[in-house]
Amino acid sequence: MEPTDRKYTKDHEWAKLDEALAVMGITDYAQEQLGDIVYVELPQPGDAVELAQSFGIIESVKAASDLLAPIDGEVVAINEELVDRPELVNEDPYEGGWMVKVQPDDEAQLAGLMTAEQYSAHLKTLE
């Protein structure tokens, strides 16, 4: 079961409200599928992120993939530690492997995302 304190997309990103900011990352399933992650490219603070559009790139030994934003907003902070330690995304995708903190344009967008339960059910359909 995935952590219940956050919301999920069908493309395997998560978003969690922390005070007024939305923290984003990728799910355990996503890191498992990607394999060993070797590089994460993140936006700059001040950049806008747009629902379902790429806000960065994640590269593993197998493939490079876009990171798709779960909501609209403006980047306030990024996880600088991932520059030198991209393996944090493999080791701890839900905490230490977070990617960006965003000021949401509309917090209500989060409500439209999947719950942990719905996301787990979605994963079952992919097996």
């Binding site: 060993d36 070797v38 590089y39 590269e59 030994v61 197998k62 493939a63 490079a64 991209p86 393996e87």
Partner: protein, 485 residues
């Protein structure tokens, strides 16, 4: 490694060749260009030859074994082509020579353009691009130039199916386009309904591969062409998989406007190792004026006693996107592709594709009970399996690939296309005998059995190579590109 580096083999003062005595006045080099040390390896000719020969023997090549690398068409390269490409008339010429002294070379290029135009149904051809992705770039620049010349300046998007080669979206992005992905349907075709929804006046074109990277013919190709053309877009076809269609189906007759060919895949010129390639690009008559400069052409001579033809380099093409490489492209590659076409002829060329498709279906049917086949239909020149059954047993596609090396085969393409989990993409090509295919099938079946009974054997492979599993993660995270420190 079993072979030391040249730097490790060095012996101070040893030389590989002795230069003749200077017979011109000596002149000193400018002092600021001189350096005290020049740490290059010092070896005899014999040591250098031994070193590189030993390295070549560590390599797996088309000449040593079966090489079913999907989407790469690693067919055998007939040795006759090497002889022909070494004819002095082809090797002892210079691109700056007067046209009248290189008529044979120009004739060869002009005829090759014609043959490729006939095979693709796209009559205007440039031989200049030197690689597949270079041909893609040339093709997309032509599409861009076409829209701009018509004053159609608002098209900023290119559609690319989710099964595409990674070079397709990269090419579109390099041409300044926004890339939008089109999903595949359940039968592995581009989803025509989604395409219809995404296609509008902002779209410059669609980049399609046919047969696609699942090795499947696009069943709705005519409908797809109608949708794209209907909204004013053009169709670029990635010709990497042309080995399935030679003499059978012409992309130009299926609505393709631009197509690149890989001479080093389909037309049997050597491939890989970063060596020279050929990305000839073919377009419709309408797009011909945009081809790179120059194009080789033919005209009647102006001299008296006309009726004789001469070949020349046509630079008078005001709409051209300009040259895309130095001079005329990789000429030696063109000679080999030309030799291939002339030695096969029309019927031989069709047989190439028939046998390539037959071989791929043979492998597909002999392995489908052992590996999951996500799109279960007749394939064309390659087949794509999924290693998901084995993955549940803890043996992943990467392990299967490594185990194949121990059993004497080059692995297929793995983890591509991206829409197939644990993908294994097998392209046997037409040049393999049924005995070779049977041996490969036996090896794949053996690995499937090992995955069930002794997975450790597969997971620890390869055992037979000079080095085992390399640490790809460390190499990517902390690349160290210097031989010393």
């Amino acid at each position: 490694m079993t072979e030391p580096l040249l730097f490790e083999l060095t012996s101070p003062g040893r030389v590989g060749c002795r230069l003749p005595a200077v017979d011109v006045p000596e002149a000193a080099l400018p002092g600021d260009l001189l350096r005290e040390d020049l740490p290059l390896p010092e070896l005899s000719e014999r040591e250098v030859v031994q070193h590189f020969t030993r390295l070549s023997q560590l390599n797996f090549s088309v000449d040593t074994g079966f090489y079913p690398l999907g989407s790469c068409t690693m067919k055998y390269n007939p040795k006759m082509h090497e002889d022909v490409a070494r004819y002095p008339g082809f090797t002892q010429i210079h691109p700056r020579q007067d046209e009248s002294t290189v008529q044979g070379a120009l004739q060869l290029m002009c005829e090759l353009q014609g043959y490729l135009g006939e095979i693709t149904g796209l009559p205007a051809v440039s031989l200049q691009p030197v690689a597949g992705a270079h041909g893609e770039l040339t093709g997309m620049l032509i599409i861009r130039a076409y829209h701009l010349e018509r004053g159609d300046e608002d098209r900023n998007t290119v559609l690319v199916p989710d099964s595409a080669h990674g070079t397709n979206p990269a090419t579109a992005a390099m041409c300044g386009y926004r890339v939008v992905t089109v999903p595949s349907d359940r039968r592995g075709n581009i989803d025509a309904q989604e395409l219809d929804r995404l296609m509008d006046e902002s779209v410059a074109g669609l980049m399609l591969t046919n047969p696609n990277t699942l090795g499947l013919f696009e069943e709705h190709i005519l409908e797809v062409a109608e949708i794209v053309h209907g909204a004013g877009g053009l169709i670029y076809c990635d010709g990497a998989n042309m080995n399935a269609l030679l003499g059978i189906s012409k992309p130009g007759e299926l609505g393709t406007d631009v197509l690149h060919l890989n001479l080093h895949k389909t037309f049997s010129t050597p491939h890989g190792g970063g060596g020279p390639g050929g990305g000839a690009t073919a377009v419709t008559e309408e797009l011909g004026p945009f081809l790179p400069l120059p194009v080789v052409a033919r005209r009647e001579t102006k001299e008296a006693g006309a009726g004789r033809l001469e070949y020349y380099l046509d630079y008078d093409r005001p709409s051209s996107i300009g040259p895309v490489s130095g001079f005329f492209g990789n000429f030696g590659v063109m000679v080999k592709a030309y030799a291939y076409l002339r030695s096969l002829g029309e019927s031989g060329l069709r047989e190439v594709s028939e046998d390539a498709v037959l071989n791929a279906n043979y492998v597909l049917h002999r392995l489908k009970e052992y590996y999951d086949l996500p799109y279960d239909r007749f394939c064309l020149h390659e087949c794509v399996f999924s290693g998901t059954v084995q993955a549940k047993l803890g043996v992943h596609t990467i392990d299967i690939a490594k185990r194949l090396i121990d059993l004497g085969f080059h692995p297929p393409t793995v983890y591509f296309p991206l829409i197939v989990d644990e993908a294994l993409m097998i392209e046997p090509t037409e040049t393999e005998s049924v005995e070779t295919l049977d041996a490969f099938v036996a090896a794949m079946r053996q690995i499937a059995r090992e995955a069930e009974e002794e997975p450790q054997v597969v997971r620890s492979a390869p055992e037979s190579t000079p080095v085992g599993r390399l640490d790809e993660v460390a190499a990517a995270r902390e690349p160290n590109l210097r031989w010393m420190g």
